[in-house]
């Protein structure tokens, strides 16, 4: 125990630095994933075949292949085509694009779960197609998509660990470095494991729960009732 405390005193600051980078990667990737999911989810519901096809292709590629390979493509292969991204940028873009593909299906599913009558009454009240979607359908779909998004955000947080492999100095990167110099594998990876868990448990889950409560109140329901 004392040995572990010494370990923490020695390497704690590096875990903190790594955690900060992991949180940054997670937040930026999550924002990108939500934006992509919304656009692709809506495109998948388009009447136009071409628009639908673009979304389907995107989802199939990013959901059907490994996140690690996508990350390597974005960081190592894109420069061959003249697009060079900084490693930090490449990291959250890869994670965000990957989770965005899963999110697109969540968005699509939530939108089609809104009862048909809501579309019809929005037409009958002569709202424009844009307002039908943004004011009537999406707010109701949002409630249906919050719980699955909670899962996706936790997946996304854990997915960011892969960015260590392109040398982004995140939590996983620091843990590997510490392990490499000290050979204290249990302490190094054990600490990282606990921090990942706490981030999911104390940051993501409560935030999602709070959001669900806010939405439930907007619907005039008491939480849990």
């Amino acid at each position: 125990m004392e040995r572990y405390l010494d370990f923490l005193v020695e390497y704690g600051p590096r875990f903190v630095d790594g955690t900060i980078v992991t949180v940054q990667q997670t937040v930026l990737a999550a924002l990108l994933a939500v934006a992509i999911a919304l656009v692709m989810g809506l495109m998948k519901l388009s009447k136009l075949f071409l628009v639908r096809s673009v979304a389907t292709t995107y989802i199939e590629i990013f959901r059907g292949t490994s996140l690690l390979i996508q990350l390597f493509w974005i960081f190592f292969v894109l420069p061959l085509f003249g697009i060079t991204l900084e490693k930090f940028t490449a990291g959250f873009i890869a994670v965000g694009m990957n989770l965005g593909a899963y999110g697109a299906e969540v968005v699509r599913g939530a939108i089609i779960s809104v009862p048909r009558g809501q579309y019809e009454v929005a037409i009958a009240l002569n709202l424009s197609p844009y307002k039908r979607m943004t004011r009537i359908i999406l707010p109701q779909a949002l409630i249906a998509m919050l719980p699955p998004w909670g899962n996706l955000f936790i997946e996304l947080l854990k997915g960011t660990a892969l960015v260590a492999l392109i040398s982004v100095t995140d939590l996983m990167f620091e843990a590997r470095q510490i392990n490499g110099t000290t050979f204290l594998s249990a302490e190094a990876f054990g600490t990282a494991l606990i921090i990942y868990y706490l981030l999911a448990r104390l940051l993501i889950s409560p935030s999602m729960l709070a959001l669900e409560r806010v939405m439930a109140r907007k619907m005039g329901r008491t939480p849990g009732g």
Binding site: Q118, L125, R135, M219, G220
Partner: protein, 270 residues
């Protein structure tokens, strides 16, 4: 009785509020409207009755432009609704044309379809603000007047989930009226309600009929209500009007065999 005679005569200069001209609608092999001709005069109250699958709800749905028609033309105050004139011929109407035409029509649905994420007053204000461009204050004033009229002003700040079915349906009526339509469509508005609250909704419609200049088309299973409120009752069978006439005649003394069978079945059930 001849399908083409209309009990209410129209002056030639006055186009009917609503005219179905040879309108057909199919779902695959199923014909729900079969070359339907129907004129409804301004301020006329017409009830549509008939067995399920007879096309009565479809009449309202195609008029509200919720579904396209396959053949024929629907006119609203003499103007084609589902079509528009371009270079002297009628072509399928654009979205912009549909939105312009739709503004004269309001519809109340069987399942109310209130917006669950908005309060009662927000439900009523939404379309006047977002579609008509009214200021929030104007929309709120207009909505409160209507909520008072339907007797539910005290629930203005509540969410629909806190209201009974009858209260929700009265809000839905106020919400449709807030758009100031000239033609109101009521699609089996009491069918989803508990028996004890049907009366409160029917009373609101009675009041509308008495106090406002509205053309109303009412699809209903409430024969007593249809008889009392309507200028004319149409009996639908297999996508056509099998018989129509003043309520006392059609419900009291039907001529068509189908009408008699239908009425005796429904009235027995009551």
């Amino acid at each position: 009785m001849d399908n083409d005679t209309h009990p209410i005569r129209l002056r030639e200069t006055d186009p009917p509020a609503v005219r179905f001209s040879q309108v057909s609608k199919h779902y695959g092999d199923l014909t729900v409207l079969d070359s339907l001709d129907l004129d409804i005069a301004a301020n006329e109250i017409v009830s549509i009755i008939g067995p399920s699958g007879s096309g009565k709800t479809t009449v309202l749905r195609v008029l509200m432009t919720l579904e396209p028609i396959d053949d024929g033309v629907i006119y609203l105050y003499g103007q084609p609704l589902t079509h528009m004139e371009r270079g002297g011929i009628l072509v399928q109407s654009s979205d912009a044309h549909l939105r312009k035409m739709r503004s004269d029509i309001g519809m109340v649905f069987q399942h109310f379809n209130l917006f669950p994420h908005m309060t009662v007053i927000e439900n009523c204000m939404e379309a006047p603000v977002q579609a008509l461009g009214l200021s929030k204050d104007e929309a709120r004033e207009r909505s409160m007047d209507l909520l008072t009229m339907v007797g539910i002003a005290d629930k203005a700040g509540q969410h629909p989930s806190r209201l009974s079915g009858g209260q929700q349906q009265r809000v839905a009526i106020a919400r449709a009226l807030a758009m100031r339509p000239k033609v109101m469509l009521f699609d089996e508005v009491t069918s989803a309600l508990d028996p004890e609250v049907i009366g409160e909704v029917l009373n609101v419609i009675r009041q509308l009929a008495g106090e406002h200049d509205l053309t109303m088309i009412i699809v209903t299973h409430q024969m007593g209500f249809a008889r009392e409120i309507s200028d004319r009752v149409c009996f639908f069978y297999e996508g056509r009007i099998a018989e129509q006439g003043p309520p006392d005649q059609l419900i009291g003394n039907p001529q068509n065999e189908r009408t008699r069978m239908f009425l005796s079945a429904v009235l027995d059930a009551d």
